[in-house]
């Protein structure tokens, strides 16, 4: 089946799995196909480039364990509920939290500043696209967590629950992130204009 086929949404996969139309393994692979990209994108936005692969594996191993005992929640008839995406998001949150703890413990052994100024590390951010790379650069971790989740379609209620916040605070962080990126892009555009004038 292609990406537009009948199992192209989480809701459809969960429904097909619950009805026995697809095996548990096939359903898992469909969910992996749907969400491997967004999960890796979250991790690439928040963690060091060379750590993201290991974190990605940890997230999916945890989900695989969960999937073996997966029970559909009563709200599964709502196509917007996305319980799997939500689970992957909060799992990524804990995986990142654990990773950040380890990073802090390793700090004396590594010069974090060197990692940031590594030309290869900077070049790798090109993957992100201009606005996303800017967001990674100027947003706080808290803002980035909310922004990335919103961009992947995680329900606002789930983001709020993951961080023990209200939905209003989540919305506020999202708007702050957007405003910060916009401000920086404007500054960049003005700088480029001035440079252009100076050259001519």
């Amino acid at each position: 089946m292609d990406a537009q086929g009948p199992l192209s949404s989480e809701h459809a996969v969960l429904r097909a799995s619950a009805d026995g139309r697809v095996s548990s393994e096939e359903a898992f692979d469909r969910l992996y196909s749907l969400y491997a990209g967004p999960v890796m994108a979250w991790l690439r936005l928040r963690a060091r480039y060379d750590a993201a692969d290991d974190l990605f594996q940890e997230v999916w191993r945890i989900f695989l364990g969960r999937w073996r005992n997966w029970q559909n929640s009563p709200g599964m008839d709502d196509p917007d509920a996305k319980p799997v995406l939500s689970f992957l998001y909060r799992t990524s949150h804990f995986v990142l939290k654990s990773y950040e703890r380890k990073e802090r413990m390793m700090q004396p052994l590594e010069d974090a500043a060197n990692t940031e100024s590594d030309p290869h590390a900077i070049a790798r951010t090109i993957d992100f696209g201009r606005c996303l790379a800017m967001a990674k650069q100027v947003c706080s971790h808290e803002e980035l967590d909310v922004l990335a989740a919103k961009l992947a379609g995680v329900p606002a209620r789930e983001i709020a629950r993951t961080f023990d916040l209200t939905e209003a605070v989540v919305d506020h962080r999202y708007r702050d992130a957007i405003a910060r990126v916009r401000r920086r892009l404007r500054i960049g555009a003005k700088g480029a204009k001035r440079e252009g004038h100076a050259k001519s």
């Binding site: 393994e25 898992f28 692979d29 992996y32 196909s33 491997a36 990209g37 967004p38 890796m40 994108a41 690439r44 594996q57 940890e58 999916w60 191993r61 945890i62 989900f63 695989l64 364990g65 969960r66 909060r90 799992t91 804990f94 995986v95 939290k97 654990s98 990773y99 703890r101 993957d127 992100f128 696209g129 201009r130 606005c131 996303l132 967001a135 922004l147 990335a148 961009l151 992947a152 629950r161 957007i178 990126v181 916009r182 892009l185």
Partner: protein, 209 residues
């Protein structure tokens, strides 16, 4: 909403979708073939988070106030059962703290081989007799979050190092040695066991039996 604002949000969404698609293109093998590994700190936090949410859902559920005084087991109401879980949540967390310091728990909790730690259980439930159900559920929530923090602090060695914990079993008071990982797993198992019983009993009550 101004057009420029939409443009930036749309552009970010497009870039995120493009990044996701590019990264997905690099993934080949399903995680089903990666082989299993024991749960690390993050996995344990996820397990704890699942039970924390289940208690939160119970706390927010309709008719929770009415059900607080309903019998969930032959001897305990919902409030009593929550007190029991809160007391073990507190005990597990305390024992985890002791374990992280590399020490042994300096007291014993007697487990009858057939009946379990009945004396200890009843004493802890009695201690919470004056508390409201909401306060007890709030205690479970706070203890679970503290447990998550402890698990995240633990070094990989500490997570799998066996420690002598409080429970002793049988007439010869045989001590129990557990790792922090096992303690966390035990905490989640215990919570799930009672959550399942509560859900089943509440369903019976809803149907009028």
């Amino acid at each position: 909403m101004p057009r420029a604002k939409h443009n930036l949000e749309d552009q970010l969404a497009r870039e995120f979708a493009a990044l996701s698609a590019a990264l997905k293109g690099q993934m080949r093998e399903s995680p089903r073939f990666w082989g299993s590994q024991p749960l690390g700190p993050a996995g344990m936090c996820v397990e704890l988070e699942e039970v924390r949410r289940a208690w939160q859902d119970l706390r927010r559920s309709p008719e929770i106030v009415r059900d607080a005084g309903q019998m969930m087991t032959p001897q305990w109401t919902l409030r009593d059962l929550a007190s029991h879980v809160a007391s073990w949540a507190r005990e597990f967390r305390w024992e985890a703290e002791v374990s992280l310091r590399g020490e042994e728990v300096p007291y014993e909790i007697y487990f009858d081989p057939r009946l379990g730690p009945t004396e200890w259980n009843h004493a802890r439930v009695a201690e919470r007799q004056e508390q409201k159900l909401d306060d007890i559920l709030s205690e479970i929530d706070a203890e679970t979050r503290r447990m998550q923090e402890l698990v995240l602090q633990a070094s990989p060695e500490r997570l799998i190092a066996p420690v002598k914990f409080g429970p002793v079993v049988g007439p010869d008071r045989r001590p129990l040695f557990r790792t922090l990982a096992e303690l966390t797993g035990g905490r989640c198992f215990h919570d799930r066991h009672h959550l399942t019983r509560i859900a089943a009993r509440r369903e019976q009550l809803r149907q009028g039996s």
